[in-house]
Symmetry: C2
Subunit: 444 residues, 2 copies
Amino acid sequence: MKRWHAEYAWLGDRFVPDVVIESEDSVFTSVTPEVTASPPGALRLPGLTLPGLANAHSHAFHRAMRGRTQADRGSFWTWREHMYAVASRLTPESYLRLARATYAEMALAGITCVGEFHYLHHGPDGEPYAEPNVMADALFEAAAQAGIRITLLDTLYLAGGVGRELEGPQLRFGDGTAEAWAERVDAIVPPAHARLGCAIHSVRAVPPTAMGPVVSWSQRNGAPLHVHLSEQRAENEACLANYRRTPTRLLDQAGVLGPRTTVVHATHLTNGNIRDLGGARVFVCMCPTTERDLADGIGPARALAKRGATLTLGTDSHAMIDMFEEARAVELDERLRSEERGHWTAAELLGAATAAGHASLGWPDAGVIAAGAQADLVTLDRSSVRLAGGGRHTATESVIFAATASDVRYVVSGGVEVVMDGRHLLVTDVAGELSQAIAEVLGD
Amino acid sequence: MKRWHAEYAWLGDRFVPDVVIESEDSVFTSVTPEVTASPPGALRLPGLTLPGLANAHSHAFHRAMRGRTQADRGSFWTWREHMYAVASRLTPESYLRLARATYAEMALAGITCVGEFHYLHHGPDGEPYAEPNVMADALFEAAAQAGIRITLLDTLYLAGGVGRELEGPQLRFGDGTAEAWAERVDAIVPPAHARLGCAIHSVRAVPPTAMGPVVSWSQRNGAPLHVHLSEQRAENEACLANYRRTPTRLLDQAGVLGPRTTVVHATHLTNGNIRDLGGARVFVCMCPTTERDLADGIGPARALAKRGATLTLGTDSHAMIDMFEEARAVELDERLRSEERGHWTAAELLGAATAAGHASLGWPDAGVIAAGAQADLVTLDRSSVRLAGGGRHTATESVIFAATASDVRYVVSGGVEVVMDGRHLLVTDVAGELSQAIAEVLGD
């Protein structure tokens, strides 16, 4: 049994003072607000304690490119060439090292669960490894070593573009057919800290005729299904030219959309798309720092939510790893577009970063501080210079609009202490491991 | 004499390894690159060393509102009501405490010089203080205690809107006439760490007939002249309705625009405005985190620079105090608008945050690591998790696109060490002072 005494804890709608929280194994057993005397054996948590943050969209290996791609001008598509260069060099061993360090950076930022959109399956030239899921195993192991939970979203990737063969580094992503994909994925047995989901890379990479087996797999397993959607206008144009419908409509007709589905980005949509996605009750994962970095544009997050979709958040390419930055950017980018303030409340954005994100990754039992939920806690230093001076009644606003990942002092994931005083307890030199793992792949 | 040995130092266009830097009094006396053996008495600076950062646009007291205004929806104009409430409560004593803590937060973020756009001159109801520049003195003293330099931009503020009298808290801003303003300002004697400039609040607050004395004062003193410009569409509309010209044109015809002038925000401009501002060789101070927070919109920074204006950066309302965030936001917001990458190089943005910002504040002798310049240094921890893994040849890109204020480890301002190991040496509890100073004004 573990016991904490939080100065302030966020109980789903507001911060409550002096909350005693207990866990047994990896699950909370009781949550008692407003206990002023510290109970015996309780660890006092000064500051603002949140549920664990869920990073609902990650490509772990993209971390290697942070900063390095900024010297080139160009587009999403030239950036993708860099990304392929990294993908082409990874081995199961080097990917374990890179993902372990990246997930450790996530833990330091208060992320206790990651959704890894995983398509780097095979060896060079697409030759399957002797153990065909060795890359998935590397990611499971990386998350375990970094002290966080993972949902592996094993991704179907068949084409190099609408009507184009895979080529070059893309060969490593492909399983040939959806049936071969399903067979490989059925052999994956996720360890206790992991759950398994599936993904369709995009309408660029998967023809509609091949989507059925993924939808069936998701239904059969009650598992999350994620898909990149309309991040770039060129995707919409190619889809319209070839299929005479928008990507959203194509996915809808292929049966992909539903309450277990997460569409990622959803940047360039028609009003009809917004209605269809909302009506299907999908999760929409916005990745604002990546979408800003890659010049994607500003997706209609608020309009989607009004129609019935649920917002989640991801750091995607890891240009930054900071869920507070993702959360506020949804509101702030909407302000830039609309020239009005106040589209989202801070509580809504915190919900997206916690409970909604976990639900979209197949952990409906996480992201809240409540008996029966996964025992995840993230404590922010209320006396950092960024948070200092915030009002007692606007603590949620301070967290969303002023906190950064560097204000995270303490993290518990599944009942296990991972971060203490801002230091990772399992990966003692996260920055050093990042440097080494990236230099191994890209050089100095 | 002081001596440093920087692992990498930014010498105006790139990072150079193993740079020996010497200063005498407050000025650099020599800069010698590529010295591998550490010379005697030199302090080794591991990481990436930059010149001091210039925060070219600050309203120190706005720091009190961080986070607190986010609970309200509404607009720039409702936000302004909050701001007036803070302004109405400050005394010279409480403003000294608030500004000292705010400037100390700036020092921790690597800011060695601030441009304070100062209009809170008088007592309640506009009654001048016995010492009419006591508020200016408080700001000078605050900067001194926080270890940074200051340019006080003493601001003319005469009207509550185009054709409207001052009212309520605005009465504290007004000097009645431009001549009375000039007389008061002429009595200010800035101390050694300070320089004096002037400002016209905006076309909202100063009729064109009253701008002449400010322009003359600027010319007579060879001093910077700053002015808020076209931050909100409503300002443009009121200006057009009353004067039949845009704010830019109005300023131009009043003789305000020139190479000593900084226009702040410049968000909503016509193509003609962009040509005129560029042709006048003004500085344009973008404050992207504030402009995003206040839903102002995205100013045409690149177009202005192409026409001949020089970019500078400010944290303005202090929703955040992080010059790296300001710098990258200029590029990233342009990406959101244009859906293209690569409008600014990282070196250009770093120049805006350093040499250009200082020049716009009347310190052409600062913002570079070179003999004869003000001895300011800012060292970033290259082994933070944010910067780890950056490429050797893309260090400038890593700084601009991945660093945060919390990566600043060491700061020297005018030859004096202000920050060591990320801690302020003069203000030992910056967060505590922020909390106390803000609670004193706004309560818990």
